[in-house]
């Protein structure tokens, strides 16, 4: 081979290959000799080495190396894993019901805009909607509920009790509905603002409080000299301030709007136009994360439905922000307001995985028309759009969706100034008054709250300082359940008509057809599940049976039958579709010396007529074999491992009655 000279214009990629040490020995020698005599190539080789050394010593910032950074990512990821399971199921169910083809729906929506004229007489009662009857509650103190327990018996609320001398004290109260008794969880100093909300898992309570700038009480002052956002661990009752600020010129009481969702506290900071988040699952002292710095600073108008937030962006549009990915999307604007110069957008609300935009389309004497558009949170294409006309004027003080079928209007009518709450059922196109008139007769608007499954109606504050109200269980309004999801493995597969299938011993004996190679073979990739019991106690087949590892534990070879998890799932991954393997093949492979460390404590994975995993088989110690829940009396080693099949090998008694393995739920195709 000729010596290399620079006149040959050395290809730099060959120097790279030399550095990578992937060239044939002869070429390496020639190139190295050349590099020693050629200043240009020698310097280039040195440069490459310098660059790689420089990069290999490049440090991350300390904040990236902190353990709590990874902890936070993991916690968030863990939440996502759980959520994704749910979402994938929702998508699956929705697809089954044929309502989620976005393209089709978008086209359909363009054609099917419903004009619903609901002519209903105000005050008409339809008590049949509320069955069973609501839970009524009354209290000697006025309080605003912000939490109702699942059984409706416990209400957390903020109370502001006033005395005749006009001083006030504010408390967060745990109210027991049956006993009509309240226990104070937290009491703020006099004249301080309060607003509270518990985490959905009941672990934390958050609230804001402040000092009125004018030294008056919370009823009269509208600015505060200081304000703080606090949390209480409801288990330990310890409290901690998350954020605070003071300004002698005054702070609006809504400076810290907040919500608790997904074990995290979300709050706004109007000074910096920021929305922030802190994961309370890792403790209230964790770092805050700024989600966006484009918040308008409007009070109490961001909403959280993990992992999404709707918030007003400084660009004037409502935005949808994915907390985990950072994707920020502007939501579509409502049409031009009917009343020039005013906004007609009433609200964007989450309902499950959709967002419902609602606004007042038109409002004339004795007739108000509302428009709703629903969007999937994944995009801005309308899923459906609908209008509703209600023959009452100015009833639109508030609107919210119970679900995507039931909408609630709550407000004050102009006729008589009475409070009213109306429930609109999109399915039946029925409008029902649900707030008893007597509530509104007090003079205050009857308030409606949707707290979890509970619809809470209250009177507001009566002159006597008392309050009464009612809880309605909204679960009775749920849509019919979707079709049952994909059949579970316990249901025989349609293509299989004969159970169980058996084979014969291969010429070379069980297991001799199985090879172990460096890559998983995926021409055939099916799964069966084998559960082994000794006297009613499950002994899981360990993970890694059929996976050969090196000294460091890294996989080296995969046998065509192997296990990844100690869940009994046998992966059958072979190079030919239609390859058939039997239980005996799996046991024989498991019995190899390299897998001895994965044998069960009872003994080696061998089944004979007289023993089972080293345990004697006789009149008092019998083996019972189930295939798909049915007893199989033949030699279990001859059972062919079929896709989605459950095989239970039960030694002795009592016989266990296990649940068939959920292949689909565990992300495995049966």
């Amino acid at each position: 081979m000729m010596a290399i000279t620079c006149a040959q214009n050395i290809d730099r990629t060959r120097i790279i290959a030399l550095y990578d040490n992937v060239l044939p020995a002869g070429e390496v020698t020639l190139l190295r000799e050349h590099a020693e005599s050629c200043p240009s190539c020698g310097a280039y080789l040195d440069d490459i080495g310098d660059t790689m050394r420089l990069l290999s010593s490049h440090r991350l910032p300390a904040s990236m190396e902190r353990q709590d950074r990874q902890d936070q990512v993991w916690l968030s990821l863990r939440h996502q894993i759980m959520q994704r399971k749910k979402r994938s199921l929702i998508v699956s169910l929705a697809q089954n019901t044929g309502i989620r083809s976005l393209g089709a729906v978008a086209a359909a929506v363009a054609l099917v805009v419903l004009f619903v004229q609901v002519l209903h007489v105000f005050g008409t009662q339809q008590p049949s909607i509320f069955s069973p009857p609501p839970i009524h509650f009354a209290s000697s103190v006025a309080f605003t509920p912000f939490y109702v327990s699942a059984d409706g018996a416990t209400i957390l609320g903020a109370s502001d009790a006033q005395t005749a001398s006009a001083t006030s004290s504010a408390t967060i109260t745990d109210f027991n509905v049956p006993a009509e008794k309240a226990m104070t969880l937290y009491s703020a100093p006099a004249n301080q603002l309060l607003d509270g909300e518990p985490a959905s898992d009941g672990s934390y309570l958050a609230w804001a409080q402040g000092t009125p700038a004018g030294g008056g009480d919370t009823a009269s002052d509208t600015v505060f000299s200081s304000l703080s956002l606090n949390v209480m661990n409801l288990q330990t009752k310890q409290t901690q301030t998350i954020a605070s600020k003071s300004d002698p010129n005054g702070i609006t009481p809504n400076e810290y709007g907040f919500q608790l969702a997904h074990a995290s506290l979300f709050w706004q900071d109007n000074d910096t136009h920021s929305l922030l988040m802190r994961d309370l699952a890792i403790g209230a002292t964790g770092p805050a994360r700024t989600l966006t710095s484009s918040f308008t600073g409007s009070p109490y108008v961001f909403q959280v439905s993990w992992p999404y937030i709707i918030y007003p962006h400084i660009d004037g549009h409502e935005h949808l922000l994915n907390v985990t990915t950072g994707k920020d999307t502007a939501l579509p604007d409502p049409p031009t307001p009917f009343n020039s110069g005013q906004t007609n957008l009433m609200s964007y609300q989450f309902v499950g995985t959709t967002v419902i935009a609602s606004w007042l389309l038109n409002d004339t004497y004795n007739k108000s028309t509302f428009q709703y558009v629903s969007y999937d949170v994944a995009g801005t294409t309308p899923l459906w759009s609908e209008r509703t006309t209600i023959n009452f004027h100015d009833i639109n003080l508030n609107f919210f969706a119970v679900n995507d079928r039931l909408f609630l209007f709550d407000g004050l009518t102009l006729s008589g100034g009475k409070g009213v709450t109306l429930l609109y059922d999109r399915q039946s196109r029925q409008l029902t008054t649900i707030a008893p008139k007597t509530y509104a007769d007090i003079g205050n608007v009857a308030n409606a709250y949707l707290l979890g499954k509970w619809l809470v109606l209250t009177t507001g504050t009566s002159p006597a300082g008392g309050m009464s109200g009612a809880l309605f269980d909204t679960t009775q309004f749920r849509k019919p359940p979707p079709p049952t999801p994909t059949p579970q493995p316990s249901t025989p597969q349609p293509t299989r008509t004969v159970l169980p299938a058996t084979g014969t011993v291969p010429p070379g004996g069980y297991g001799t057809m199985i090879q172990c190679v460096s890559n998983e073979q995926l021409s055939q990739h099916i799964h069966a599940n084998i559960q082994i019991y000794f006297n009613g106690k499950n002994e899981p087949i360990p993970a890694g049976v059929g996976i050969e590892t090196d000294n460091s534990g890294s996989p080296v070879d995969f046998c065509w039958l192997h296990t990844h998890q100690p869940d009994g799932v046998v992966h059958i991954e072979s190079p030919h579709t239609g390859d058939k393997f039997m239980v005996g093949d799996f046991l024989a492979m498991w019995d190899r010396p390299e897998f001895q460390g994965r044998w069960l404590p009872e003994g080696p994975p061998v089944i004979t007529s007289t023993s089972f995993f080293g345990q004697p088989l006789d009149a008092t110690h019998q083996l019972t074999v189930y295939v798909q829940g049915k007893i199989f009396t033949g030699d279990p080693k001859t059972l062919i491992l079929q896709s989605g099949e459950n095989i239970w090998l039960e030694y002795g008694t009592p016989l266990a009655n296990p649940t068939p393995f959920d292949f689909v739920g565990n992300g495995l195709s049966p």
Partner: protein, 198 residues
């Protein structure tokens, strides 16, 4: 009362997703535990790689999470790969490229000096020297085209072979070597330039 009204207003704007309940499905604790071990083993490398690609801690953390979310969906397969890191780097690379395409702001706002100093002091490191060198290298990296940057970081920082790094970028070995040669040259130039500018 003033604050009661505030609560009421907020509540009117809320809607609960709980009413629309969905059937829950279960993830076995063993699966999650195995995945957490996997996550702990590789996440710092992926997050570090993404930070070097994006120059943005929050984005690096977010995309690292997204990378592992995808890993979770294929965990049964990739957990037994001889080199799961290659798969993770490939996914992280694709996510980083997508992120960079969508990002309107220019790449590479380096961490504010004051933050960096505080970070380093916390760790007991000479902050000035560390920041200087790290920042110079980072500036040089962020000055490279994204693919060149990815290739150089995978090769130089994370020790992938040129072939493995090329695979993460879905380019041939020959193309990877050419690109690495160009990336190296440009990095050296940028590094010298940044160093002189300090």
């Amino acid at each position: 009362m003033r604050w009661l009204s505030a609560i009421s207003l907020r509540r009117y704007h809320e809607a609960s997703g709980e009413v629309e309940s969905v059937p829950s499905t279960s993830v076995s604790p063993a699966q999650v535990e195995a995945f957490e071990n996997f996550f702990r083993q590789y996440e710092s490398r992926i997050a570090g790689y993404l930070w070097r690609m994006l120059g943005d801690e929050q984005a690096a953390n977010d995309l690292s999470q997204e990378t592992f979310l995808r890993a979770w969906e294929h965990f049964a397969e990739i957990s037994v790969y001889p080199s799961p890191a290659s798969w993770l780097f490939r996914v992280a690379t694709n996510l980083a490229f997508t992120h960079l395409r969508r990002r309107s702001a220019p790449v590479g706002a380096a961490m504010p000096l004051t933050d960096a100093l505080a970070d380093s002091e916390d760790m007991g490191i000479d902050p000035i020297a560390q920041f200087d060198e790290r920042d110079v290298v980072m500036q040089a990296l962020l000055g490279l085209p994204a693919k060149q940057r990815a290739l150089l970081v995978l090769r130089g920082v994370y020790g992938l072979t040129t072939e493995e790094a090329g695979r993460a970028l879905e380019i041939s070995l020959a193309a990877a070597r050419k690109m690495l040669s160009r990336a190296h040259q440009q990095f050296r130039d940028s590094y010298q330039h940044a160093k002189e500018g300090k």
